[in-house]
């Protein structure tokens, strides 16, 4: 597998893991939040509805009391009694001492003439015959007006009751202190952003709202007046979300509206949401971090396993290749060996016959003898090849003996010292002190090192250096022998083949190509490994690792 594939795999592991861990997390978070939000909002709305209804009842009670106060007054007196302004004044003062809801009090006869008046304005003699409220009270007996400026040029509203006395009707009319009424409405205001006001059925404000709008101003949006009964809902007004509850008063077609800022009311939800988001983010962070770490560890483990497997595979391939080649070599050697033996015997036979006198005298005797000599020479050459082949294929158990590697190498190099000196090649020995004894087969090892050293001398040719180094490897479990030369090195494409039988770079007749193959077989059988490192132009280094025990 290539690095790109590992990255892809890692991304896939991360993606899948995140998918499977984040989706439930988000689903859980959202559903809990949604449930909480729904039930909390419902509760808030319920509270708001209850509050607006309570407030409405209070206001209606206020109106009921005012109406019954006026009714009581009207029905316990005659028009003539109340026409007396001094008497009226006494009664008004009495009422004022209990409650300051009324600003003034007036008596109007059936012609609309203001016949008696107590209060801060001079309204006596004003005729109301053409006013809407006059018609209404004459017709219905009770009337509560919308807020209007009227004759006094000041916003107010009135409550009027009519009394039929004999064959005439007269009206008792009182002005309500708008401040007291507004205070009552405003009692429903909550928090810093809460608002409460009253509208008539034409969306005209009957009290001053806290925000946006003034008394007698018309509210264009939203159209509150379309509401029937009591309603509580969330609304968007000028881009802001507000909670609005509204209900109609019983005594008058007025709509009580209470607004609340959801940001204040829903604070716990927002707090919960904030906490939720924080927790979710922390959770996501932990999951992502964990996933990345786990995926990284997994792919690294995989890379390691794959690399080990590749090494194992290549070792396995090499050793099975060697085994197959061994069998092949043995087969060839046997098949070639028998004809060789026959040729040799036949040649020997001819040589025997040549000793007979009459042939010795023939003119071609020398040619015969020469030919026989050549045949024997080449049979010998072929025999060496088959014997080496068989040596390579040999399945002989190695001898177990204690080998001092430094001494063995010194001795082996000693065989070649003369040759090296002749070619001006120095053999440098870098032996580690206190190298443990190795349990191995010294003569076979000697063959291996001799092979490598001969190759090294051949590779260097003239004027160079061969370095033999011994060291302890793998925490003292292995002895490493490195033989490095300053030769031309081995081209990359040949590195994989140098241990194959018959692989040689030497000219025909100068090498069988068996040396390194045999060496490989020997080292393998001794439980070690042989490796080569080389770069063209930088020499070659053969390392033989042998187990100590």
């Amino acid at each position: 597998m290539e690095g790109k594939d590992y990255r892809k795999l890692r991304r896939r592991i991360i993606g899948l893991t995140l998918c499977f861990s984040l989706i439930p997390l988000f689903a859980l978070g959202f559903s809990i939040y949604y449930q909480f939000h729904t039930s909390y909002t419902a509760k808030i709305m319920e509270n708001l509805r209850t509050m607006v209804e309570n407030r409405r009842d209070a206001i209606d009670l206020f109106f009921d009391e005012r109406i019954s106060q006026l009714n009581t007054l009207a029905y316990t007196h005659t028009l003539d009694q109340l026409r007396d302004e001094q008497y009226l004044e006494r009664i008004f003062t009495l009422i004022q001492s209990r409650s300051r809801s009324f600003v003034d009090l007036g008596v109007i006869d059936q012609d609309g003439e203001h016949v008696a008046y107590v209060g801060p304005y001079n309204l006596r003699g004003v005729n109301y015959k053409n006013e809407d409220w006059f018609q209404s009270v004459m017709f219905r007996g009770v009337h509560i007006s919308d807020v209007f400026t009227g004759f006094r040029k000041y916003p107010h509203f009135i409550i009027a009751v009519a009394r039929r006395e004999g064959n005439r009707v007269w009206i008792l009319r009182a002005t309500i202190d708008t401040e007291i009424f507004e205070a009552m409405v405003k009692a429903a205001q909550v928090g810093k952003k809460g608002d409460a006001f009253v509208l008539n059925k034409y969306n005209v404000l009957q009290t001053t709202p806290r925000f946006g709008g003034e008394l007698l101003g018309k509210v264009v949006h939203p159209d509150y007046a379309t509401v029937a009964g009591t309603r509580a809902e969330e609304m968007k007004i000028d881009g802001d979300t507000v909670l609005v509850a509204s209900t109609w008063l019983r005594n008058k077609e007025w709509l009580l509206v209470v607004k609340e800022d959801p940001r204040e009311e829903l604070m716990p939800i927002f707090r919960a949401r904030g906490m939720m988001i924080g927790l979710a983010l922390a959770g996501v962070l932990v999951i992502v971090l964990g996933t990345v770490i786990v995926a990284k560890a997994m792919t690294e483990q995989m890379i390691r396993a794959d690399r080990e497997k590749a090494i194992l595979d290549s070792n396995l391939i090499q050793s099975s290749k060697m085994a197959a080649l061994g069998k092949l070599a043995a087969g060839i050697a046997h098949e070639v060996n028998n004809p060789l033996a026959v040729i040799k015997e036949k040649a020997g036979w001819i040589r025997d016959l040549l000793t007979e006198e009459d042939i010795a005298g023939s003119k071609n005797f020398r040619e015969f003898e020469d030919a026989i000599k050549k045949i024997e020479f080449h049979v010998e050459r072929a025999r060496k090849v088959t014997h080496r082949l068989l040596g390579f294929a040999r399945r002989m158990e190695p001898v177990q003996e204690t080998v001092d590697m430094n001494r063995l190498l010194d001795e082996t190099a000693g065989f070649l010292d003369n040759e090296a000196r002749f070619r001006n090649i120095s053999i440098v020995r870098e032996f580690a002190d206190e190298l443990p004894m190795v349990k191995s087969d010294s003569s076979q090892l000697q063959q291996v090192f001799l092979n490598i050293l001969e190759n090294a001398i051949d590779a260097v040719g003239r004027d160079g250096e061969i370095r033999i180094r011994t060291e302890l490897g793998d925490k003292g479990k292995e002895v490493l022998v490195t033989i490095a030369d300053t030769g031309p090195g081995i081209p990359k494409e040949m590195l994989g083949k140098i241990f194959d039988p018959f692989f040689t770079t030497k000219s025909v007749g100068n090498g069988t190509g068996m040396g390194l193959a045999i060496s490989y077989g020997i080292v393998d059988k001794l439980g070690g490994r042989i490796a080569v490192e080389s770069e063209e132009g930088k020499g070659a280094a053969f390392t033989v690792c042998l187990p100590v025990g």
């Binding site: 060996n337 033996a341 015997e345 020997g348 036979w349 068989l390 399945r395």
Partner: protein
């Protein structure tokens, strides 16, 4: 004429014929047969001092033949002729009572030396009775 008789056993006829001729030329009374069975048959009728025995033969191989020869004629010495290159088969032969082994293709003179050594041993045995 050499004082000993030699029997050569090898399935490769050309080799057998030539080796027998060459030994005869060197004053050795030699007979050649091409199988283990033939060798045993002949040994049952005639006496030989030394047997040159090829290890690799079809039907009855060298080691098997060697065992039977030793059963039949305990005092006959056997030299194994091995094409194996490996010492294994030679050593195996010696474990079963062969006198020595020699690798194919062999020098006739080396072979002759080994035959003489083998005969020397037979002579010593006979002298001791």
């Amino acid at each position: 004429m050499e004082p000993f008789r030699v029997l050569v056993v090898d399935d490769e006829e050309d080799f057998l014929e030539t080796l027998v001729n060459r030994l005869k030329r060197r004053q050795v009374d030699t007979v050649g047969v091409d199988s283990g069975a033939a060798a045993l048959d002949l040994l049952g009728r005639e006496e030989f001092d030394v047997v040159i025995l090829d290890v690799m033969m079809p039907a009855m191989d060298g080691i098997e033949t060697l065992k039977r020869i030793k059963d039949l004629r305990p005092f006959t010495e056997v030299i194994m002729l091995t094409g194996h290159g490996s010492v294994e088969s030679g050593i195996q032969g010696m474990r079963h009572g062969a006198f020595d082994y020699i690798m194919k293709p062999a020098e006739i003179d080396d072979l002759l030396v080994k035959i003489r050594e083998a005969y020397e041993r037979i002579r010593l045995h006979k002298e001791r009775g």
